[in-house]
Amino acid sequence: MATVLITGIAGSLARLTALRMLVDGHRVVGVDYRPPPKAHPSTIPYTQANYNKTRIEDVFRKEKPEVVLHLGRVGNLKVREGKRFDLNVVGSAKIMELSLKYGVDRLVVLSTFHIYGAHHANHIPIYEDEPLRAATRFPQLGDAVQLDNMAVQWTYRHPRLRTLVLRPCNVIGPQINNAISRFLRLPRIPFLLGFSPMWQFIDQSDMVNALHLAWQSNAVGVYNIAGTGAVPLRKALSLTGRKLLPIPAPAAHGYVRYFPGMRAFPPYLIDFFKYPVVVSDDKFRQDTGFQATIGIAESLQRL
């Protein structure tokens, strides 16, 4: 049984993954830069530490994890850009260095499909070795792209660490609190009039399963993760059973900026409401045996 360090443990995906590992008899320790949430289970030791400060090293020194799941990427744009850079780029570099220094055997870094960037010329599907367009149109995504780039370099610069970089599509679920899950829970969900690009979703339970298969597999490198297929956005929104609100595309940026209910909505996602980013997860399924089991409709209905 392994000792597993999970970053971002205040988040639901990390917590669900940790609980799953406890069931299998692994020892889990959690870190996060945020204070522990009320829902945090007492069975998982919790250390509050910035990933870019020295305190995180104590956790490595004391706990000697064999596996590190770096799930603590900060996607939230409300966090100041400077702080996000410190956490995502400087912090991730630190976690990767410490993993190497303290003899970690397996490092899994959670990235995102957003870094491919929504663009009208995108082909379908997008494979792992393709250029990452996101930062050219939205410099705010620069930290996510850089985090991913660093982790990918790590896979071949330090083969001993057996690094995996995962780029999942939209992770949704009743307990997930990312921008998309929150968006899909709005009483009236806005969409861009005349646009309905293909979207992919993966349910929280499938994502936990994917992470689980991932770290236990022999796979090394970069992998896209998708759910059970792609569906037009309009169709997906109607599957939530909520009311929809059409917004003319030219008004979208203003709406996101000034409408009070949309303050937490990251503007870089607007392009994703126009143009598709459909990823291929063939490689991940081949190398880990992963198969998503929760259908898109089911997953959206139980949000």
């Binding site: 010329a121 379908i124 861009l192 309905s196 690009p197 297929g229 037009p232 259908g295 409709a297």
Partner: protein
């Protein structure tokens, strides 16, 4: 198509043709590009009215082989009505019916409503990855190697093929897919352009801005397509061999063979055509 309620019915012939297609779709009835037979049937039913408007005479459609194939026509008529007529012809006149996956200009996803109508009916962005994946799944691909340069031809250049791109040939070689050359005659006369107003095109973000001879009299009504009769001639499939990543010059020789074949098919049809409208 909520905007067109009276048209949102499915033509029985279209329905019957769709029933005979074998499609790979996900649990919700879509493919990865957004093709959705339930919507596509309605859109094809509307397209069928446009098809009937041009009363196409179709020859050699039985030349389309089973499995993967590239359909390569000339491009003309300002609007992609030639592509629409070919797609409906392959659905209604080919036996068994073929669903055509058309490769469209890369900017079509930027057009509101057009992008969804295109995607639901099987059009995809003209990109080598899309094309290869669809060929590998044994689809019929419709590609216009002249691109927008072809459809934007002015009247003085009608029925003269412009330069072909090489992409379609490299994909045919890579996917080992035959090419069926197609000539479309009649589209040049449906919407006439005397002059391409490039500054206006640039301003509007369009690939070209056709100036119709009757524009001063009819205004935008001039752009309604005239009921010219379309002639679609499907040639024998052409098979090419060789490395897909060959030097441009060597690929150009193969491209020229296809281009010359289509040009001679067009010339032959024009020589025997007696009237533009009858």
């Amino acid at each position: 198509m909520a905007l067109l309620p009276p048209l949102a019915t499915v033509d029985p012939e279209i329905e019957a043709a769709f029933q005979r297609l074998s499609l790979e779709l996900n649990e919700l009835g879509y493919d990865a590009w957004g093709f959705h037979p339930e919507k596509a049937k309605m859109l094809y039913s509307i397209a069928r009215r446009i098809f009937d408007y041009f009363r196409p005479r179709i020859e050699g459609i039985e030349n389309i082989p089973d499995g993967r194939v590239l359909l390569v026509p000339n491009h003309s008529g300002q609007l992609p009505l030639d592509g629409l007529v070919i797609a409906v012809a392959c659905m209604l006149r080919a036996d068994p019916p073929r669903l055509v996956r058309a490769m469209a200009e890369r900017w079509f996803p930027t057009l509101p409503f057009v992008n969804t109508a295109f995607s639901r009916s099987g059009v995809v962005v003209g990109d080598p990855v899309n094309c290869y994946n669809l060929l590998a799944a044994d689809n019929a691909i419709l590609v216009f190697p002249e691109g927008a340069r072809g459809s934007g031809k002015t009247w003085d250049h009608r029925y003269r093929l412009v330069k072909f791109g090489r992409g379609f040939m490299r994909l045919a070689l890579q996917a080992e897919a035959p090419i069926v050359p197609i000539s479309v005659v009649g589209a040049e006369e449906s919407i006439i352009s005397l002059y391409d107003a490039k500054p206006i095109a640039r301003m509007l973000g369009m690939p070209y801005a056709p100036i119709h001879p009757l524009l001063p009299i009819l205004g935008l009504l001039a752009y309604l397509p005239l009921p010219s009769r379309f002639y679609l001639d499907f040639g024998k499939p052409m098979y090419f061999e060789g490395p897909f990543d060959d030097e441009d010059d060597r690929v150009d020789i193969k491209v020229a063979k296809v281009r010359n074949t289509i040009q001679s098919m067009i010339d032959k049809r024009l020589a025997i055509r007696e009237s533009v409208f009858a």
